[in-house]
């Protein structure tokens, strides 16, 4: 180092400078001083998304007099919320009081955590439990209509789930009407592309694309879509990401878990990972991105009454006495390893079908053709294109092992079967097609729903996330009717935090 030439000094200096600049650049999407940007529109609060969480957050800030705008990238508002049934688990509702049902925060949390298997952040589980009733009254007072009978759904120790009349469609429509009455603004076909921060790292706005046209034919719309005009929106108080999940982003979900290339999803077209990526690029902490919650049709308790066979070999795959989550994982990895796109077939015989815990649902499926009825196994095999001989052989082996009370292959506990086998006609069959409509993963947030920075583990000033966009709230699996209380309580709390800040 004796003779540092001028050139050498410049070289080292340049390298050092670029290193100093590069590190913070990794933590921020764009570093701009807000004097450089010419803002096309100014708001107090920008909420990205237009589903349930977005509406609740926007209503809270709009009611407090803050100039709020909801921006939705699609031409259709409501995301998955308008498609969902919106069963709503509430602790301590007036309906529970009327029916004399005793519930508690601890019991509610216990049920949620049983589904979460410890992957859930109990601070958030508590947040949901303690605020669920407040959220119910909030929605009810603003036009959402609920049924007067509670549902006792799977995984809940007591009946606590409210029925939303008209489903998510009517609920979001009611909230939307209320939001507009409070001078709330909403913009369709505006996509949030990049989070903009000032030199101090505070989120001050968004780079958006107006007149965005989502293209369903693209494999990765977030990356490949070139429509829209770039504009800059100022957010004087906060930006809230209520952008839902990414169940319909085949590329992203397959990166997290290759078996997810095989699932079907009823989710809306806009459920992609673009918003999550924007938050991560702005320094957010991703949590549990590979966790997914499967839907299955057949009630979990009834799965054990069936025999599940591979679509190509008609051989049994696994112990059918399992929960939806585990069974779905096994099905998908089985399909991946056997290199098939065909879903296994679940077969019930007359007794198995009769044993169902929810005969109403099973009969509804039968009427709608989801479950098919057959007089012989041969007919069943033909319909599902299973090799007939192999199916009959497998059924025979299965029946024999039930009679011998021993499942050599998969160690199923036959004492639970209550007479179910594959013996008595008529036979019923359904494709075991795991459906994916919810992604538990997302960004890490505080109990005030501030997004935490991955380096400092401190809130990114001015950035919030609510609803399905957050991660670590539900854990391994999400309890049924557990999303609505999460969406609503997160929206209310985030909104209140923003108003107070």
């Amino acid at each position: 180092m004796e003779e540092l030439s001028r050139r050498g000094f410049m070289k080292w200096g340049a390298l050092a400078t670029s290193a100093i600049v590069a590190v913070p650049a990794l933590n921020a999407a764009t570093l701009q001083s807000d004097k450089e940007i010419k803002w096309d529109a100014e708001y107090d609060v920008i909420v990205v998304g237009s589903g349930l969480s977005a509406h609740v957050t926007s209503i809270v800030t709009a009611e407090a007099g803050l100039k709020t705008v909801m921006i939705e990238k699609m031409s259709r508002l409501g995301g998955n919320s308008i498609i969902s049934q919106q069963d709503f688990a509430v602790m301590g509702s007036d309906l529970q009081a009327k029916s004399g049902i005793k519930d508690s925060v601890e019991l509610y949390m216990k049920d949620f955590s049983a589904a979460g298997k410890g992957y859930n952040d109990v601070r958030h589980t508590r947040r949901i439990a303690e605020n669920s009733n407040r959220a119910y009254e909030f929605a009810r007072d603003r036009g959402v209509k609920y049924g007067d009978k509670l549902k006792h759904l799977g995984g809940h120790t007591v009946a606590r789930s409210l029925q939303t009349l008209g489903g998510g469609g009517k609920a979001v429509q009611a909230l939307h009407k209320h939001y507009l009455s409070k001078n709330g603004e909403v913009l369709k076909r505006v996509k949030a592309e990049e989070i903009i921060k000032d030199n101090a790292g505070k989120v001050i706005g968004l780079m958006v694309k107006e007149k965005y046209k989502f293209d369903n034919k693209l494999q990765a719309d977030d990356r490949e879509n070139t429509t829209g005009k770039v504009k800059y929106y100022r957010a004087k108080k906060a930006v809230v990401f209520a952008t839902g999940g990414y169940s319909r982003d085949k590329e992203f979900r397959t990166i997290q878990n290759p078996t997810l290339a095989l699932i079907k999803t009823p989710s809306n077209r806009g459920a992609t990972a673009g918003a999550l990526k924007s938050m991560i690029k702005a320094g957010a902490t991703p949590v549990q991105i590979s966790l997914t919650r499967f839907s299955f049709g057949i009630p979990t308790e009834d799965l054990k009454y069936s025999m599940m066979v591979d679509a190509n070999t008609a051989a049994r795959i696994t112990n059918e006495d399992s929960n939806r989550q585990d069974l779905s994982n096994i099905i998908l990895s089985h399909m991946l390893t056997t290199n098939t796109k065909k879903y296994p077939v679940l077969i019930f015989d007359a007794q198995g079908f009769k044993n169902s815990h929810d005969p109403h649902r099973m009969n509804k499926f039968l009427k709608k053709g989801k479950i098919k009825q057959f007089n012989t196994l041969k007919e069943l095999a033909t319909e599902y294109k299973l090799p007939v001989d192999k199916l009959l052989e497998e059924a025979d082996t299965y029946n024999k092992s039930i009679a011998a009370k021993k499942d050599d292959k998969f160690k199923k506990d036959y004492s639970k079967l209550n007479g179910a086998a594959v013996q008595k006609a008529p036979y019923y069959a359904i494709h075991a097609a795991p459906g994916l409509s919810y992604t538990q993963g997302g960004v890490q947030v505080t109990t005030k729903h501030e997004v935490l920075n991955i380096d400092s583990n401190k809130p990114i000033d001015g950035l919030y996330a609510v609803g399905e966009a957050t991660g670590g709230v539900h854990g391994f699996s999400r309890i049924t009717s557990g999303s609505i209380p999460d969406c609503m309580t997160s929206g209310i709390i985030a909104g209140e935090s923003i108003v107070k800040s």
């Binding site: 259709r76 409501g78 498609i83 469609g169 429509q173 939307h176 009823p266």
Partner: protein, 137 residues
């Protein structure tokens, strides 16, 4: 009757028939001969009305034409509520696309209807609509 009355009667009759023929205004069958622009063809139901580009896109040069907003479609098609009312018979089974279970009357015209290319039934994205609706035109 005198013999010359018969030709007079016949003449009167002929006169009457000629008058009738001249006055009859039979509706003709129309020959649809609209010059269809191959790059931006329009649907048959708009062709029947012999609409021209400017009727939807306004005065101005063709290069400046933009996609229409819903409000522009509604200058002829009245309102989303009216469109829902016209097929209110579908609401009984909750199958009306113009007042749907999920969206009410809030959908954008473009979710399904495209003027210059094939229309797409959005409901068919998730549902099997064969028994609920005719194919969209």
């Amino acid at each position: 009757m005198k013999t010359y009355n018969i030709p007079i009667l016949l003449l009167l009759l002929m006169g009457g028939v000629i008058l009738l023929v001249l006055n009859v205004n039979e509706p003709k069958t129309y020959v649809m001969d609209v010059n269809s622009n191959s790059k931006y063809p329009i649907k048959s139901y708009h062709q029947e009305l012999q609409l021209e580009c400017k009727n939807c896109h306004g005065e101005g040069s063709e290069e400046d034409y933009e996609e229409l907003e819903d409000e522009q479609c509604l200058t002829c098609h009245k309102s989303k509520e009216y469109l829902a009312q016209r097929i209110s018979f579908m609401e009984k089974d909750k199958t009306s696309p113009h007042n749907s279970y999920h969206d009410g009357t809030t959908l954008s015209c473009y979710e399904c209807h495209h003027s210059h290319e094939k229309s797409v039934n959005m409901c068919a994205d998730c549902h099997n609509v064969e028994t609920w609706m005719k194919p969209i035109k």
